[in-house]
């Protein structure tokens, strides 16, 4: 196909994906569904007459139509100046583990059952939903300058949802883990949920006001998401990100360092190359509060006059755009136990509702908390309800009281510590 396209275009790229997976689903605490999936697709880009075209198809036999579509797309495409990459050296990033690829449905059922047993032992009255999926993915990319990439991934993804309904009182909480290399951590989601259930057993009352707030790794996405969006090279280019034009400036507390790292073996966001064939590398985005760089793909990088940072990410039906890979907020120096002990009267944020709603690109967030605990005299004393927090990360993160030395992987590809802010306005309905 590449050859045929190169007869009419100056540049061409063909990506082929193939994925087979098996899943088991437990609902209402019992085995409910089992699925087998086999999907594949082709996505094509060309630059013809200096204009970029894109087309994709999940029907891998419809190559004639696919090529017609991509050439038509290029006729109407925007002029671009970037070049698809020539073959590059890349780090040896481990993304495939035969033992995951070979996991049987029976073994998935066994793990699911073990998780279920653990959670129901901790709290017999809950309704548990578990989904376990193992897959083998085969990704291949070739372009006109000889780049020829071919690698496999073996994602194992485990997600759990627990629903606890006592009269009108409802707690829903989730956890998920993902890995492409067997790491023996498959019980982690269940263990974390058990801890949450234990802490949520007691209720506590909280009054509105300003107080120290401790964001657990799960909850710190409230703070992290606006920052991640602001680092997107596309939003920077369009001056929609408040960080545009501020490279080299100290925008946040020196306790904060944000890194994008697609080279960590076995993690979901890891691979040797990005989705355009640019080799992956570790990018420091914010270093001790100072803005060092943004995330770019080929197109946005060329528009910004810089090199791609290797963050070109795509799905089958969408062309590449800048996305984080594995996003890490670096650990600090304070032990979590010391952080908790230092709080006389404050709030622990575990899960927030409505993440990403509102004008998040501006840094503003406002979220009610689906799971939060009161901290009193250095102890977690119980779950608080009907509490919400709001603020703007460009104000709040200038002064961070403490960052923990402990970190956790959450939401598949975020590695985050516990973050404590000295004083935040908390609104409570009580």
């Amino acid at each position: 196909m590449l050859e045929q396209l190169m007869r009419s275009a100056e540049q061409a790229e063909v990506v082929r994906v193939h994925r087979e997976s098996t899943s088991v689903v437990f609902e209402a605490s019992r085995l409910k569904r089992s699925q087998v999936k086999e999907t594949s697709g082709l996505a094509v880009r060309v630059v013809k007459g200096g204009r970029l075209g894109f087309a994709a198809s999940s029907d891998t036999r419809a190559t004639a139509r696919l090529m017609r579509n991509v050439l038509e797309s290029a006729e109407h495409g925007d002029a671009v100046t970037f070049s698809l990459p020539a073959p590059q050296e890349a780090l040896d990033v481990v993304t495939f583990d035969e033992s995951i690829a070979a996991l049987s449905i029976g073994k998935l059922v066994e793990i699911g059952q073990e998780m279920l047993d653990l959670i129901l032992a901790a709290e017999p009255g809950v309704n548990v939903e578990i989904e376990l999926t193992r897959s083998t993915e085969h990704l291949a990319l070739r372009n006109h300058s000889g780049t020829d990439i071919d690698f496999r991934r073996s994602p194992l993804s485990i997600s759990v949802e627990v629903r606890w309904v006592k009269g009108d009182d409802v707690l829903i909480t989730y956890d998920q883990t993902g890995t492409t290399v067997w790491d023996g951590q498959h019980m982690q989601s269940a263990e974390r949920l058990c801890r949450k259930l234990e802490l949520a057993r007691n209720q506590a009352r909280l009054r509105s006001g300003r107080m120290p707030v401790l964001f657990a790794p799960n909850g710190s996405l409230v703070l992290g998401l606006p920052v991640m969006l602001g680092l997107d090279g596309k939003d920077v280019l369009k001056r929609a990100s408040p960080m545009a034009g501020n490279l080299g400036q100290k925008l946040f507390s020196d306790k904060l360092t944000f890194v994008d790292d697609p080279t960590i073996d076995g993690k979901f966001g890891s691979s040797p190359f990005d989705d355009e064939g640019v080799s992956h590398r570790r990018n420091v985005l914010i270093d001790q509060g100072i803005l060092k760089g943004f995330l770019y793909d080929l197109k946005t990088a060329s528009q910004a006059g810089v090199e791609s940072t290797g963050n070109g990410s795509r799905t089958l039906f969408t062309p590449p755009s800048p996305q984080p890979t594995n996003l890490l907020i670096e650990p600090g120096t304070v032990l979590l136990t010391d952080m908790i002990a230092s709080i006389d009267s404050g709030l622990w944020v575990e899960d927030a509702l409505g993440l990403g709603q509102g004008n998040v690109i501006s840094g503003a967030f406002s979220n009610s908390l689906s799971l939060a605990y009161k901290i009193e005299k250095g102890q977690l004393v119980g779950r608080v309800k009907d509490v919400s927090i709001a603020g703007n990360v460009y104000d709040l993160l200038r002064n961070v009281a403490a960052v923990s030395s402990e970190t956790e992987w959450v939401h598949h590809s975020l590695r985050v510590p516990y973050i404590m802010l000295d004083s935040m306005n908390v609104v409570s309905q009580q």
Partner: protein
């Protein structure tokens, strides 16, 4: 293909087998600022087989390659056999429908050249960019999609349906110093190209509002009487209540069933809420759901009392109620689950002026950026809002996020407007399967004692 499908069904060893195939072509055009991000077409073809066995749960096989259906049926059957949990899944009976639903579109978008679509969108995009110097960025999206879906079952159902969809999303970003504000308008429907032509007014509105928000103050957080506009009221009823009516929440959970017991009072006598997947001209409408059950109007709350819920065949059987035609799947990549279609708060009798006249200090919240629910807790953000002072709509405010407890909030609705309208905005409901077209309808609503997050 029909031969193959029916032969595969006949050869299945499962108690119940269902095959759903889909062929889709879609065009997407996106402008970001002055740049065209893409003007491209995708082809998506695939299917899903679902099987139920005598002693267990669902087995599914999803695929792109639609040849060898018999082998896919075998795979789904084997998967079903893995799932034995002692309790059998039953399906509420529905008549096995045989139907062929075609559409005839005025100005069928399949016949409109890519260039014309691009030109239309570019015009709207430029309208936004040139409306004000403070508009620094835009996101303009045109999408059309045409699917041919075939559903067949071992019970003898055979339904073919053509599904068109066309839509526009116009978003403007305005900036003043470090303050960045966004506003958008959208329109989508199961229609032809004409549905999105001549809508420069949407571009003007989006750009104008983004600029207005630059001078709006952030609302002071607190408790207020709130009037919400039909667009926001629609999102509210979908998020805060609609999801609780989806029976996959309650059907396996005895405690949740206690919460959602029919006959329980949820609101005042003025409140009626329904879902109707059979109304013509609305985005969530189809003649049958994705299990072949005919769609219809389902009353959920009538005169304040919980009277019904939404079902798939499985949840209906489990709860010994009637199937309602609400089993929907986003695409062949997913099994159908209980989803809303077109959900609404029925109109009342209070005029907008009457509604605000008694309010000394309150908020008039409009349109939604989106919403999320976790059962009794909901959160949704309004795209823009105004203070209400001494019975009048006053200055614009921003960052208005309404959150609360469903039970107390529904009971706090004390006025329902006489201006019911269905939304024709684009907007999809995500529920673990990505976005499914839905729509909402409502009049203006007044709610007492709402917590608004803000400064």
């Amino acid at each position: 293909m029909r031969e193959q499908i029916e032969a595969a069904l006949r050869g299945s060893k499962a108690k119940y087998t269902e095959i759903r195939l889909e062929e889709r072509e879609a065009t997407t055009i996106v402008y970001r600022g002055h740049d065209l991000e893409t003007a491209s077409a995708v082809i998506d073809v695939g299917g899903i087989v679902r099987c139920l066995c005598d002693e267990g749960g669902w087995g599914e096989s999803t695929f792109n390659e639609c040849d060898h259906l018999a082998a896919k049926v075998e795979q789904a059957y084997e998967s079903a056999r893995v799932v034995h949990s002692g309790e059998c899944v039953e399906l509420a009976p529905v008549p096995a429908a045989r139907d062929n639903i075609t559409v005839s579109l005025q100005r069928d978008f399949r016949g409109v050249p890519l260039d014309a679509k691009k030109t239309l969108l570019r015009q709207y995009n430029i309208t936004m960019l040139e409306s004000d110097a403070r508009v620094v960025d835009t996101n303009a999206v045109y999408q059309d999609s045409f699917s041919h879906v075939t559903l067949a079952s071992s019970e003898g159902a055979y339904i073919e349906e053509e599904r068109p969809m066309v839509g526009l999303l116009l978003m403007a970003v305005a900036r003043k110093g470090d303050d960045v504000q966004t506003a958008w308008e959208s329109r989508a429907g199961q229609s032809g190209f004409g549905f999105v032509e001549g809508r420069g007014d949407l571009a003007v509105s989006a750009a104008g509002r983004a600029v207005d928000l630059l001078t709006a103050e952030t609302v002071v957080g607190g408790r207020y009487p709130v009037v919400i506009d039909p667009a926001l009221a629609g999102v509210f009823i979908h998020e805060a209540f609609g999801h609780l009516s989806e029976s996959d929440f309650v059907y396996e959970n005895p405690k949740a069933q206690e919460m959602m017991v029919l006959g329980r009072r949820f609101g005042g006598e003025l409140l009626t809420v329904f879902d109707d997947g059979s109304l013509s001209g609305l985005r969530g409408t189809h003649k049958y759901d994705d299990e072949g059950t005919p769609t219809r109007r389902s009353d959920l709350i009538r005169d304040g009392i919980l009277v019904g819920r939404l079902h798939s065949r499985e949840t209906a059987a489990k709860m010994r109620e009637q199937p309602t035609g609400n089993a929907r799947a986003t695409s062949y990549r997913y099994a159908p689950i209980v989803r809303m279609t077109n959900t609404a708060i029925d109109g009342g009798t209070t005029s907008f002026d009457e509604m605000i006249s008694g309010i000394k200090l309150g908020v008039y919240a409009c349109k939604a950026f989106g919403g999320q629910t976790e059962l009794e807790n909901f959160s949704f953000s309004s795209a823009y809002a105004y203070m209400i002072r001494d019975g009048q709509v006053a200055e614009m405010v921003k960052d208005v996020i309404l959150a609360g407890n469903l039970f107390t909030t529904l009971k706090s609705i004390d006025a329902i407007g006489d201006d019911f309208t269905w939304s024709h905005a684009g907007g999809r409901c995500g529920k673990g399967q990505g976005g499914l077209p839905v729509t909402f309808g409502a009049p203006h609503i007044r709610i007492q004692d709402v917590i608004i997050g803000g400064r």
